[in-house]
C-alpha cells in the first residue's frame, strides 16, 4: 500500500472531525472531535515516516499523543468547572463575554 492511501484516509478523518467540531454543541463531544483530528494528523505522520524510511515522524506522533493527553486533562477540568457554575456543557451557554 502506498502511503498516499493513508494520507487520504487521514484527510478524511480530519475533515469529519472538523465538521464535528463545527456542528456539535456539547463541549465534550467537541473535545472528542478534536481528538479525532489529532489522531488523523498522527496517522499522516506515521505514513510520512514510512515514506521517508526513518523514525522521525513516529517520534513526532508520539509527542502529539503526549500533548493531546495534557490538553484533554486541562480541557475536561475546565469543562467541569464551567458545569459546576452553569449546570450545562453546551457551548451555546458559555456566553458571558457576549454583551
Amino acid at each position: 500500500m502506498s502511503p498516499e492511501y493513508y494520507v487520504i484516509l487521514s484527510v478524511l478523518l480530519f475533515g469529519i472531525g472538523g465538521v464535528g467540531v463545527l456542528v456539535r454543541r456539547n463541549a465534550i463531544i467537541v473535545f472528542m472531535c478534536i481528538e479525532l483530528m489529532l489522531n488523523a494528523a498522527n496517522l499522516a505522520f506515521v505514513a510520512f515516516a514510512r515514506m521517508h524510511g526513518n523514525l522521525d515522524g513516529q517520534v513526532i506522533a508520539f509527542f502529539v499523543m503526549v500533548v493531546a493527553a495534557a490538553e484533554v486533562v486541562v480541557g475536561l477540568a475546565i469543562l467541569m468547572a464551567i458545569f459546576r457554575t452553569r449546570r450545562s456543557t453546551s457551548v451555546d451557554d458559555a456566553n458571558l463575554l457576549k454583551n
Binding site: V7, F31, V46, Q58
Partner: protein, 307 residues
C-alpha cells in the same frame, strides 16, 4: 487491492504475523496489507461518522474508541508497533476513560438539543468541512508522495530501539519539555477541578436541624420492587396506591424520555390509565412487596397525596 480478495487464511496469517511482532523485512504481503487497510479504513470512517452523528455523548465515546482501535491497527501495518500500543494504552485506555468519567460526572443524561441557535450553521459547517477536505485532497494530489521505503529502514534494529535512540538523542530536549507539560497539565487540572469551601462545614447538629425543618425527616422511600417489574426505576406505591415519585432516583428517572412513572398495575388489575388525580384514594390496592417501602413515604409527599 479489492475487498473481494478477502480470504480467511490470509487474514489469519496476517494476524499471526502481527501477533509475532517480529516484522519480516518486507512487512506483510501486499494483498494482505490491502485487505487489512481497506477493512479498517471502512471501520474508522464509519466510526468517525457515527461519532459526529450520534446524539448521546456515551455513544460518541464508543465510536471514538472504535476509530482509535482501527487506527492502532493501521499503525501496526505501517511498521509502528510502539505507536500502535501507545495508541491503545494512552488513547483508548486513558484519554477515553477520562472522557467517560467526566461524562458520567456531569452530563450523561443531557441529550443535545437539536435546535439551531445560529441560522444555517449546520449547512455552513458542512460546506466548510467539505471545502477543507477538497482543498487538502487537492494539495495531496499535487504533492509527490513517494512509495514506501522497505520496512527494514524503520525496523532495522527494532522499532522500539530505534525510537528510543531518537528520543534520547536528537529529541531529548522536546522530550524533557513534554514532561514539564504533563506536570503543568496535572497541576492545572487539580487547580481547576478543586472546589474551595466557601462556607464552614455543617456540623451534625445543623444537619439534623435542617433535616427536621425540611419536612421529611426520614430517609426517602426506596423504589418499589414488584412481581411484574423487578427494577429500581419503578416508583414505590403509597398506602393509597399512588406511585411515589420521590422513591426513584432522579438520575434514573431523568434518563427515561417518556413518562417518569408508567402505569403501575397491581396484581389482578388491568393497567388502565388512571382517571383520578394523584390524590385519589378510592383504589383498593394492596401492593405485594411495596407496602413496607411505601410506608416511610407518607410524610414525604405533602404536595401530591395528602388528604
Amino acid at each position: 487491492m479489492s475487498l473481494s480478495s478477502l480470504h480467511l487464511p490470509q487474514a489469519a496469517a496476517a494476524a499471526g504475523h502481527l501477533l509475532a511482532a517480529a516484522p519480516s523485512p518486507e512487512g506483510p504481503a501486499p494483498t494482505t496489507h490491502a485487505v487489512i487497510f481497506w477493512l479498517f479504513t471502512v471501520i474508522a470512517v464509519a466510526g468517525a461518522l457515527g461519532m459526529v452523528l450520534a446524539r448521546r455523548a456515551v455513544h460518541c465515546a464508543m465510536m471514538l474508541a472504535t476509530v482509535m482501535f482501527s487506527l492502532a491497527v493501521l499503525y501496526l501495518m505501517q511498521g509502528a508497533p510502539f505507536l500502535a500500543f501507545a495508541q491503545v494504552i494512552v488513547y483508548t485506555g486513558a484519554v477515553l476513560m477520562l472522557f467517560l468519567f467526566v461524562l458520567m460526572l456531569i452530563s450523561v443524561s443531557s441529550a443535545e438539543s437539536l435546535a439551531e441557535t445560529l441560522k444555517g450553521q449546520r449547512v455552513a459547517a458542512l460546506v466548510a468541512g467539505l471545502g477543507m477536505v477538497i482543498l487538502l485532497a487537492l494539495a495531496i494530489g499535487h504533492a509527490a508522495i513517494g512509495q514506501a521505503k522497505p520496512m527494514t529502514s524503520i525496523g532495522g534494529t527494532g522499532n522500539v530501539t530505534g525510537l528510543a535512540a531518537l528520543i534520547f538523542t536528537r529529541y531529548v530536549f522536546p522530550f524533557e519539555v513534554t514532561s514539564a507539560l504533563l506536570i503543568t497539565a496535572a497541576l492545572g487540572a487539580m487547580v481547576l477541578a478543586h472546589r474551595e469551601r466557601t462556607r464552614p462545614k455543617p456540623t451534625q447538629r445543623e444537619l439534623s436541624r435542617r433535616r427536621i425543618a425540611s419536612g421529611h425527616p426520614t430517609p426517602l422511600p426506596p423504589p418499589g420492587v414488584y412481581a411484574l417489574h423487578d427494577a429500581v426505576d419503578m416508583p414505590a406505591l403509597l398506602p393509597d396506591g399512588t406511585p411515589c415519585e420521590l422513591s426513584v432516583s432522579p438520575a434514573i428517572a431523568r434518563r427515561e424520555p417518556g413518562p417518569a412513572t408508567p402505569a403501575i398495575a397491581a396484581p389482578g388489575e388491568t393497567p388502565a390509565p388512571r382517571e383520578d388525580g394523584p390524590g385519589g384514594d378510592a383504589r383498593p390496592l394492596v401492593p405485594a412487596a411495596g407496602q413496607e417501602s411505601a410506608e416511610p413515604a407518607a410524610p414525604a409527599t405533602q404536595g401530591g397525596t395528602q388528604q
